[in-house]
Symmetry: D2
């Protein structure tokens, strides 16, 4: 089998209209745009319904890549998984995580090393979103992505990054056959359905245990513990990117993931850093930080107003949404150990993290 290589580049993108960091890397020859398979972006909007920075940044990046690749913007959006998430509250920094994949150079030593598998479902109709149809589409896409990565054993998968669809706001106002009547409601159910699909594909939940549509969004303690699902308006498909450490891959990067049981579970973060060869005591040194390329966290505030017995106000603040409080707090919590403020941190962890907890993936350079 042909050996491949995968790599993650982290690039600052301080403004949604400014892709100069990405352009510079391409112009320097450090990044071949033809090898880009996915870009995760964190933008400085509110991350909620009226956050236009996601689409603005998507267009900025797609426009640049279209020019560099000689494609239309639509082609770029179709060929590369573009997954922008708003909200850089607190100390968090807007940035891009650019994933590339290519044949390994001649004679490259085989892994295990960072492996990437990709797949896309057929388009879903609005009425399929948030329902079993989406769950099954997500499961099938996850299996296809596993195969694409050559990760035969689902247990070796560290992380599944998923983009799931929601209907356009226009379709929502007055719609009757949708799983939910609001954009937040649709996002919730679409993420829940896709996450359960991943859990089925990874063997974490049995498909037969899910009877009907009502299971989606219920019993939130069950699900996958290795996925980050984001709902987006710009595609009707479920897009899946599987990440793991594969034998058929050569390269200098590795990925690991873990589960945080609550917002204060720094010990779980420290244990994962340790396992990846970056022990924090209590914080990574500058050299260690340089080897931490990507940090992806998916989680939510507690579902009640308590954290380890202390009252918090995240759920009851009508001026700042719960997830905005959460992102700011978790950026600080992770930063205490990593010494860094670049986190692709996203809320809406239905069937992905234990309620009130989170899941975390770290991608590191070996040296």
């Amino acid at each position: 089998m042909k050996i491949r290589t995968a790599e993650l580049h982290r690039i600052a993108m301080p403004d949604p209209g400014d892709a100069s960091g990405l352009a510079a890397l391409i112009d320097e020859g450090a990044l071949d745009p033809a090898t880009i398979v996915a870009i995760l972006g964190k933008t400085p909007g509110n991350g909620l319904t009226n956050d236009h920075t996601r689409e603005f940044a998507t267009r900025t990046v797609a426009s640049l890549l279209a020019a560099r690749l000689g494609l239309t913007e639509d082609d770029v959006r179709s060929r590369i998984l573009l997954l922008f998430s708003g909200g850089t509250e607190g100390m968090l920094a807007p940035h891009l995580l650019v994933f590339t994949r290519a044949p390994a150079p001649e004679g490259a030593a085989p892994g295990p090393a960072l492996a990437i598998g990709l797949a896309r479902s057929a388009p879903l109709a609005p009425a399929q979103i948030g329902r079993l149809a989406e769950l099954d589409a997500a499961a099938a896409a996850t299996r296809a992505a596993l195969a694409d990565a050559g990760l035969d054993d689902p247990r070796t998968v560290a992380w599944v990054q998923v983009k799931c669809p929601i209907p356009t706001p226009g379709a929502l106002h007055g719609a009757r056959d949708l799983a939910a009547a609001s954009i937040p409601g649709m996002k919730h159910l679409s993420r829940a359905a896709a996450a359960l699909g991943v859990a089925v594909a990874l063997g974490e939940v049995a498909r037969r245990a899910i009877e009907d549509d009502d299971a989606i969004g219920a019993h939130l303690e069950r699900g996958t513990r290795r996925a980050c699902v984001t709902a987006a308006i710009d595609s009707p498909c479920v897009d899946v990117m599987v990440l793991g450490n594969g034998a058929g891959w050569a390269g200098d990067q590795r990925i690991g993931s873990t589960v945080l049981k609550d917002m204060l579970d720094a010990p779980a973060v420290a244990a994962l850093l340790d396992r990846l060869g970056l022990p924090a005591a209590p914080q990574l040194t500058r050299d260690q930080r340089d080897r931490l390329v990507g940090v992806i966290l998916k989680g939510d505030p507690p579902s009640d107003d308590r954290l380890r017995g202390g009252r918090h106000v995240m759920l009851d603040d009508s001026d700042i949404g719960p997830i905005r409080h959460y992102r700011a707090a978790m950026g600080g919590m992770l930063g205490a150990l990593t010494g860094d403020n670049h986190v692709y941190l996203s809320g809406g962890a239905e069937h992905q993290a234990p309620p009130g907890g989170a899941v975390l993936a770290l991608i590191v350079r070996n040296r």
Copy 2:
């Protein structure tokens, strides 16, 4: 000299209208209201101009203590330093820090142990606020509080908690002889003046190095590194509470303080925990957490849009003020090490912390 004892009680106050936690402690006999000298409270408002939770909580507490002590509310507010700060963003919990002081029991072993000294300046006129007159009043009050605590050597002082005045909004609209024209501006200058006063009293800045009113709020890198100054509307005086570990004090609690050089300076926090006998690896255990009674942090976001090279949006977010982002993030950063979410965390660290950094006090039980 008569040996005294000082103690800090941390009490949940989830709602500004609910002092039942304080009432319960009094009713159980665990807290003699006659010994209370100061109460710091963290309330769940926005901590900004229109945060009414501070005054609401102040009245709730004052009303309870008035009933228990047989005083008027005004008497309570005059006799006890009540210092409420709004803003429990992210995981932070609204709570009270109740400081008591009393003669030590017969035969109590002398310290060093937690020591408290108190003093109040004469009332300031609106035109004195934010100017040298306030600076000198704060310096004199700090010296008086040191004497009151029997802490003869200023170097032994760990922390100086200060409440400084601002004019009422009514006085601001249209006023001409004030140091600043807005409530945020007045708070800024009043804190700055009081903090420089503390620095003078503690020997951290020479009085003669401060020529005129313009020095207040300029050269923000100089100042004290052991104070937390809060501006409030309900008193025209500068109130000072000095905290240290004094030989003439018996008791089971100790205080320590440190400086954080930026928002990610977890190592400084870890070092202070270590010094106080509570090593975090990476986080305090439950038993250790029970011994951490009080956490007070004063700091501000960076003055530019960078944190260790990563862009942040705290300064440019017109929907959420910088300090709200900051409190949420710092609550997470501290919580990673302490495992707890009770922090009296306040912004506006002019002349108190290095720009972009913070100062931190921890009060712990010895066993």
Copy 3:
């Protein structure tokens, strides 16, 4: 039958901790506190879940009246209908509407004049809120209030002001037998149930047309068109104040009400002003404004994102809630005609106003 007199006093209350305007009126002898039967207050908070200004202002007013009347605060809260609503966005002014009722002076000319009837239901259990039990309790209380006012014909009623209960947040987190799982959800259903109860009592909806609990909050185009229902946490009862122009009442004030079909229905407002003897051309003169004592509006933004064909963003703004946009806009719309900015303007018009429309009551002095 003994002739009575009713009067409305409008009093500025710029801060929720400051009842000095009310105190002054009492001290001047212009207002006998023993005659106060209801106080509606508009406070400067966000009017949403974490708006503490409502309870703060309630306590401030109750404390003052307790002192003046020689009662406890609890007695005051039980004897006087205190109905505080948060949110003075845009140009709106925080203020109190103080309703008094007393025997008419000897020889007073009989009306019709402003009439007030009051009634209170038995306490509702949390599980009854938002359900038929609350609807029937509201209907019965409305009938009792009609009788209390001597307004025998429901068609002569101009306005029914209702305070309906919601469970405390503590009861919500984890509760199972409630009609809704969130505070906004409970408020929605409780208002809806109470409004349908008023509609039944006023003959606007037939009781037999309401089959079961599911009718509450459905078919929102039906309901009353003469009520303003506000949900509050501080009482488990449905409190009703009926306002009309009664023959058995003497006095100088009158009330009228109307329906606005959308947010721009200024012609309906102008017609009501005209009917009450205050024609606006286009705006009330200063003399006319002095005769406009009370303005109460209940309404909501459109349920879709259009207003007369123009797109609006009220529903999709995650930084500012829809009702905050609405209050600011409607304050301007009404102010264009009245020339004034005192409106008790409240959202949540389920079964009270036509969807996207509003209901409006004006209380004017005859000369």
Copy 4:
């Protein structure tokens, strides 16, 4: 002299990424893109520092026009005055005001009719912004635009729309030679300087009465009463569009403007509508509304916390900025009379409107 024709098209743009309304008008042949000289756009962001919808919408429109005109986006931005303002609070609708200018058709009857004159200053250095250099540049550009429109008598000018520069945020952080140290500060001073320049050009303020840079932003009661100045980051020049009713212009549209003395000055609005042949009684009918093509308002909340004696909270709300409250309220105030919700409504009226008041331009079709 050759007769010209000018026309204003109002086009909905509900989303900053969607210019389909503009595209449709072009595709239908109703709008020749080559005749477009200016586009004012109202976008749904917060209108404050971190409002990315302005630049996003600008790019969306520029990209469409570039494709239609065979130009680069940069060329479009250079040739057409693009002036996007964020903030559609309350009922306001995001929309475009597209101004065209062309030779009049053969035999067109001469006006007076809507006239447009355009001019652009040389680029300003960051240190010139907010200072006399900008004032003089604005005055010269205004005079040039008057000449370009053939409006020889400045008194016949109804409105001057100005786009003035501010430095980029990057230039601000740490800059020393700027007139102000923050983006809001720079916007304030840049608008103030440009507005005074317009006032000089229109003969409303004598140039010799302005001694030095300190006059800019001081004595805010003086200035022009016929301008709307917006600060933007995307050009270092002062761009001016003069609007009036000129004899050398043929067409079906007219413009008028007026001054509102406070937020409730509906009578001034009604008088202007009347003058333009659209009497409101109290509101425009549907037919009349169809003839109201453009509504442009520039104003600010009162500088103290009172409006006609009633307290307002616009200045003291730390959750919602003053101008957001203002826009929502004024949209309602104007809508009461016009029956419509399309207003290009912008705050920051330094030297443009009387403090607490506003200036208003209406462009109407004659039939």
